[in-house]
Amino acid sequence: MAVRSPAHLQVNDVSVTYNHAARPALEHVTFGVPEGMRVAVVGPNGAGKSTLFKALVGLLPIQRGEILIHGVAFGAHQECVAYVPQREQVDWRFPVNVQDVVMMGRYGALGWFKQPGKHDRAIVARCLEQMGIAPLAARSIDELSGGQQQRVFLARALAQEPHILLMDEPFTGVDTTTQAATLALLDELKTQRVTLIVSTHDLNLAATHFDRVLLLNHRVIAYGAPAQTLTSENLLRAFGARAVLIENKIVVDECCPPEEERIESESE
């Protein structure tokens, strides 16, 4: 992967409210992510983790605040940020195979009117290899298992050669092969100084594999190194009734996910 100058992400006092909602989904969110850092976003269901990611990518309008990359307002950097949502809302019966999907990751770099060339095909092949799905290159996407599909979209995000990679709960509900592949990917991206922002329910994972933890519940409860952030006090504040202190250990209950959040900017 070509080494370009990595990005610095700065989020200043961002608020996001869904249409007709009584209260904001995100309020006064401020944090900065230096180049090459790995940040785990942690919080209860409905805390606004997905909302934050959608706002960072420009899928949701923000009512207040600003998002800066390299110090410049978001919008000019379409090649910089890649995003892997929790559930892909694509038409699975669309006539595309794995290679076609991963190649879409190159379209940002290609721009208008240019067709993919040898360089792009090489990058796609490498990303397929990296995610362990090279043998599946010619398969239609509806023939794949859930974990395999996840790895296809991770490979696509990789093919974008992003400065910043956002992943919304990549470890939730996938098989162990895919989990292992994703973890390997995190380590690999660390060496390439790609800035990583990953949301997860796995607090252990957050503590062991990430440099910083962003504890979120509509507002930023805490942000910093795992040891400083994942304290009993912070966890109780973030998880509220869903956290219980048993024999000096916090147990967090992750039941009852909220209703599907609509994407406000979608017109269909």
Binding site: Y83, V96, M104
Partner: protein
């Protein structure tokens, strides 16, 4: 071979055949997007909504194609606009526009004395009336539309497949959707003479739907659809010549015949294969169920 060559001795058949093949290919390729994006009803409504444009051009003794094109673009943008606000369901909005524009068009055309014949031609095609100028216009517009599809292939693919990626890549999604509607409007106008306003929706949907059953990737789907569209047009024209039936209907019936063949016999996806596979599976299961002592 006489059966095949005899109709082609006539100039009007040669031109009609060329026009029908070009239109068949064009409708099939654009139709791939119509099928994949679930726009069949929309495509049909747009075809009928062009009727008032044609009627007005006709009454003003102006260029029919220009009136049709203008109406098509207005309707394309209008549908795009109506469905954005979300106060009415898209289905309902289309239904309303469909009926209103069709009525307006028929009303205007009925003021002409020869309206019954003219209406039949507009609704169902008059391929024998294709002049050399018409042929040139069809060729030019078809080439233009196909060029746009090729140039914007990547962008239209992403917008159709993954709205989230389209947003992440900062693609002008609304613009591209409106462009697609305009392309469909142009295709409808180009198809006026060969299959007419009433049947162009079928040419948009059926070859592409057939190709969907036979292929696994979009480029091959477009290629197979184009071949099927061309074949249906040629066979349909021969049928209309020898059986003395309206060309548009003959072409559409042929295309539908292809569809049912594919529906039944497509490898891995056809109904016949499914039934065979089920029978094999049931046979294997009953063998396995025999208890071993």
């Amino acid at each position: 071979m006489n059966v095949l060559t005899e109709p082609l001795l006539y100039g009007f058949m040669q031109r009609g055949m060329l026009a029908a093949v070009m239109v068949g290919i064009l409708c099939a390729v654009v139709g791939c997007y119509v099928v994949l994006r679930g726009m069949a009803y929309l495509g049909d409504a747009m075809a009928h909504a062009i009727l008032p444009g044609i009627a007005i051009a006709y009454l003003l003794k102006g260029e029919i194609l220009v009136g049709a094109l203008a109406a098509g673009i207005v309707v394309a943008l209008g549908i795009g606009f109506l469905t954005r606000r979300g106060t009415i369901k898209e289905d309902t909005a289309i239904g309303i526009l469909f009926a209103a524009t069709l009525s307006l068009g028929v009303a205007l055309i009925s003021t002409i004395k020869t309206y019954a014949l003219d209406l039949t031609h507009i609704l169902f095609g008059n391929v024998l009336g294709v002049s050399e100028t018409d042929l040139a216009v069809i060729a030019l517009l078809s080439a233009g539309v196909l060029l746009v599809i090729i140039l914007l292939y990547k962008e239209l693919l992403v917008v159709s497949f993954d709205a989230v990626l389209a947003a992440t890549l900062r693609l002008p999604t609304e613009l591209l959707k409106h462009l697609l509607l305009i392309l469909i409007a142009i295709v409808v106008v180009v198809s006026l003479q060969t299959v007419g306003v009433g049947l162009v929706a079928a040419m948009l949907v059926t070859p592409a739907a057939t190709a969907y059953l036979l292929t696994r990737r979009l480029p091959s789907m477009m290629l197979v659809a184009a071949l099927l569209g061309a074949a249906a047009s040629v066979i349909g024209l021969y049928l209309s010549y020898y059986l003395n039936i309206v060309s548009g209907a003959a072409i559409v019936l042929t295309a539908t015949g292809f569809f049912f063949l594919a529906y039944l016999f497509a490898p891995a996806r056809g109904l016949v294969w499914h039934l065979q596979a089920r029978r094999k599976h049931a046979a294997r299961a009953s063998d396995a169920a025999v208890p071993s002592e």
